[in-house]
């Protein structure tokens, strides 16, 4: 056991940080490779996750831009410069933004240039764009990879890998994650998985093209890209499994003295439940991936029934398999996975709302219980994605009922977050703007989940743009906005400077307006019966001609949305070097992550923190300061 240190007030911590005379100082003098590449420090790993995930997000977005071009102008040659030039320009700007010396910006500038090259490759070539016109097969690749990249390589690594890694140990007062080496393996496994996905664009036949859902038998008879997809997924799953074990052990075992479960910041709770979802939901997909791999390379028939005739040829397989089996195994993961997308976002929003309302979160306990209940229920609703696979009355009754039940904790969580605003003193900081916007946006996404969760309406809405609209509202102006909020919020803790507020507000308002123009029309199209995954955007649909003009609206809005992201990217890199200096606790926050120097030293805390109270003691009556850090001893501060 560690020797017990004397209690100190947070102020003394700050003072000590300036001198930096601590005995563990030497550990920071690691070589470049150990410090930045094969680091075992959770903060560095969190940043590695963050940067990689943001780049993947951007790449997933670029794929989407190519798709949206096609949807708005089906059958017209693509104006590829339109995509490549801005990306290359961003690359150049970012490269030079911090002057000519090796730095993160330079590396990322180069990566953006690389991405521009990749997009050039993808928008040319006779296998993809003969005569500049997109082939339907390539549209399918884009769709499948956009979904896969956004979810598995973008949002989850950002929400769990980056924020979880960076923030959780700090918020619970731990020196690091419980298993630092394992943490490094998680990141590199993710990296290899991502690389595999990228490389798959270059194999014959291109990348996976059977949707992110990879339904059999289509996926089994698909080109080599699908094999790459499976292998990539196995790496990503391994990464998530190791990561989730690490998070759970860290949260359970490394909590600071006095930090009981009911004193944990809401974000930590969200990460804990998320980790359980990853831990127990991913293995079945891993099993399914192995089975699909066997079907593809060893000629088995797990997912192939007898008597298949593909392109006029009878398939020479043993048969007897079940396509539905794949769907069960896939959705057993993929439904919990959507809560993996939303829970860290809810956690971030909770932190930011508490901080910027200057009062505790309302109904902390009900928030915690709701999140646990949500996590539990999310394992038994999965077949609401499968109502139209031929479900009888009993099984559909079960899944409709569980789906309605799971909406209740979401309602409770959202309600509690809104009610938290009552009696507040709201500061409209940039992170707060994003966090506030999250609430109604998630509301729209969540509410539109209800008709989908009821089987009869799903007959009309399944596989239409209504579904696309539903989940993009939860993942894009929902989760993505929450992640932006988190970036603006924790940026000062990471680099010691705040991001520019004016640019931040431009980014917010621009994105907020544009993104609604991207996704709101999807409901209209969906209700009118326009199917998803159509490479021509529904041109052949006689009954939907009246809503097709919206394709253009959405595409233009998507480009405007993209343009406002440039503001973010510039702000991000500019602020790294030139942002306004921030002290250790610029937002006057209460949780432990803000009670340590910026950037936190190796080992995170100068002295073992001790916690005396709940996470959000803002505006405590009778106190002089409007915030009382979790580690401030009871006696001090009461001097008034």
């Amino acid at each position: 056991m560690r020797p017990r240190k004397e209690r100190e007030t947070p102020l003394e911590h700050v003072a000590a940080a300036e001198h930096h005379t601590h005995d563990h100082g030497h550990e920071e003098h690691l070589g470049f490779w150990r410090k930045y590449i094969f680091s075992v420090d959770h903060k560095v790993i969190g940043l590695q996750y963050g940067v990689t995930a943001l780049l993947f997000l951007f790449f997933g977005f670029s794929l989407m831009m190519i798709m949206r071009w096609q949807l708005a102008h089906p059958g017209e040659p693509i104006a590829a410069v339109f995509f490549i030039a801005p990306m290359a320009l961003i690359g150049v700007v970012v490269f030079f933004i911090s002057g000519i010396k090796p730095s993160l910006s330079m590396l990322i500038g180069l990566l953006f240039l690389g991405m521009a090259g990749l997009v050039y490759y993808l928008t040319s070539g006779d296998e993809r764009f003969p005569g500049g016109i997109m082939l339907p097969e390539f549209y399918n690749q884009l769709g499948a990879m956009h979904g896969t990249i956004m979810i598995f390589l973008g949002v989850v690594p950002l929400g769990v890998g980056a924020f979880g890694n960076f923030v959780v140990p700090l918020q619970i007062g731990a020196p690091d994650m419980a298993f630092p080496k394992l943490n490094m393996v998680s990141y590199w496994s993710y990296f290899v998985g991502g690389l595999t996905m990228l490389v798959s664009f270059f194999v014959p036949g291109g990348a996976a093209n059977s949707g992110w859902t990879s339904y059999a038998p289509l996926s089994v008879i698909a080109t080599t890209g699908q094999t790459m997809w499976i292998i990539g997924m196995v790496f990503l799953i391994t990464s998530s499994l190791l990561g989730s074990v690490n998070f759970i052990v860290t949260i359970v075992q490394l909590r600071a003295k006095g930090l009981t479960f009911m004193r944990l910041p809401f974000f930590v709770w969200a990460q804990l439940v998320t980790s359980f979802l990853l831990l127990l939901a991913f293995p079945p997909l891993e099993a399914a991936a192995v089975l699909q791999l066997m079907d593809r390379v060893a000629g088995t028939s797990f997912f192939l029934p007898s008597g298949l005739v593909v392109s006029g040829q009878a398939l020479q397989n043993a048969g007897g398999g079940s396509p539905i089996l794949w769907q069960h195994l896939f959705w057993f993961l993929a439904h919990p996975e959507v809560y993996v997308l939303i829970l860290p976002a809810l956690g971030i929003v909770g932190e930011i709302i508490a901080n910027n309302t200057r009062k505790p979160l309302w109904g902390y306990k009900s928030l915690v219980y709701s999140v646990i209940f949500l996590g539990f229920m999310s394992f038994i609703v999965w077949a609401h994605h499968m109502f139209l696979t031929g479900m009888g009355t009993t099984i559909s009754t079960f899944f409709q009922t569980t789906t309605m039940i799971i909406s209740i904790p979401s309602v409770i969580i959202l309600t509690a977050l809104i009610i938290s605003l009552y009696g507040a003193s709201i500061r409209f900081t940039v992170p707060m703007l994003f966090a506030l916007a999250f609430l109604p946006m998630f509301g729209i996404g969540g509410l539109t989940g209800l008709p989908l969760g009821l089987a009869p309406p799903d007959i009309h809405l399944h596989d239409t743009y209504y579904v696309i609209g539903h989940f993009h509202y939860v993942v894009a102006p929902g989760t993505l906005f929450a992640l932006f909020a988190g970036i603006y919020f924790w940026f000062p803790k990471i680099v010691g400077r705040t991001m520019n507020t004016r640019l931040g507000k431009i980014h917010f308002w621009g994105s907020f307006v544009a993104i609604n123009f991207v996704f709101m029309p999807m409901f209209i199209q969906g209700l009118a019966g326009v199917s998803r995954r159509l490479y021509d955007g529904g041109q052949q649909y006689a009954h939907a001609q009246g809503v097709l003009y919206l394709n253009n609206v959405m595409s233009i809005a998507a480009w405007v949305l993209g343009a406002f992201q440039v503001v973010f990217i510039v702000n991000f890199f500019w602020s790294l070097k030139r942002g306004e200096k921030a002290d250790t606790n610029p937002w006057h926050a209460t949780t432990l992550d803000w009670q340590t120097p910026t950037p936190p030293p190796h080992g995170n805390f100068l002295h073992e923190p001790v916690v005396y109270r709940g996470p959000y003691e803002y505006s405590v009556p009778g106190k002089k300061s409007d915030y009382t850090p979790q580690n401030e001893p009871e006696t001090s501060g009461q001097k008034a």
């Binding site: 056991m1 560690r2 563990h24 731990a174 020196p175 690091d176 419980a178 298993f179 630092p180 499994l241 989730s244 074990v245 690490n246 759970i248 052990v249 359970v252 075992q253 490394l254 831990l279 127990l280 939901a281 991913f282 293995p283 079945p284 891993e286 099993a287 399914a288 192995v290 089975l291 066997m294 060893a298 000629g299 088995t300 028939s301 797990f302 397989n317 043993a318 007897g320 398999g321 079940s322 089996l325 069960h328 195994l329 057993f332 080992g603 995170n604 805390f605 073992e608």
Partner: protein, 196 residues
């Protein structure tokens, strides 16, 4: 600050980090094999015909393998008990036997596979063989993983006994938990594939 509870248990949870970690990992393994068993049951109940295990597979060999794996579980737990009794030499003997038995298991398995191939039975032959090869193959990979871990603990990893005996004992316990789980999976695989 050092990472706490790597060796000694935390008082409120009663666990050291590795112990909780390995159990969580095993929980995920339960779901992995659970999915495979679920697939097996689904495919089998949906199939018009399905061979009984004894019609296609070699029960005596599999029984031998079951015995081998059970024995290796005992030697594994004994190797840990030896460390608890501070008898390092005994630990080495038991751990060595565990590894040898694991190799024995794989050798028997290889004979079984080889024989199946000679008869022209491949994973693609039928869903029965697809399930058989996939599940035993994945289990086999877990056996290989166990061999790697145990060999490390017997070889280079055992130096820790001299510096941090308690931590080393914990590691052996954790490796043991994994190894028993591999045994446990086989306890279900054996009847469901061979005897039913």
């Amino acid at each position: 600050m050092q990472i706490p509870y790597t060796v000694t248990p935390r008082s409120d949870t009663g666990l050291f980090n590795g112990k909780l970690g390995i159990w969580l990992f095993l929980a995920s393994e339960v779901m992995l094999f659970g999915a495979l068993f679920s697939s097996y049951v689904l495919l089998r109940t949906g199939a018009p015909t399905w061979p009984r295990g004894w019609e296609e597979l070699n029960i005596p060999l599999a029984t031998l393998n079951t015995a081998i794996l059970i024995t290796s579980s005992v030697t594994m737990v004994m190797s840990w008990a030896s460390l608890m009794m501070k008898d390092f030499n005994k630990f080495r003997r038991y751990m060595g036997s565990t590894i040898l038995l694991a190799f024995g298991f794989l050798v028997v398995k290889a004979f079984e596979y080889g024989h199946k191939f000679e008869l022209g039975h491949f994973p693609s032959t039928s869903n029965f063989f697809a399930v058989y090869f996939t599940m035993t193959g994945l289990h086999g990979l877990h056996v290989i993983g166990g061999i790697v871990v145990n060999s490390y603990l017997l070889g280079p990893g055992s130096k820790m006994w001299n510096t941090e005996p308690e931590r080393f004992t914990n590691r052996v316990e954790i490796a043991g938990l994994y190894w028993h789980f591999v045994d446990l999976v086989w306890i279900f695989l054996f009847p469901s594939l061979y005897l039913l």
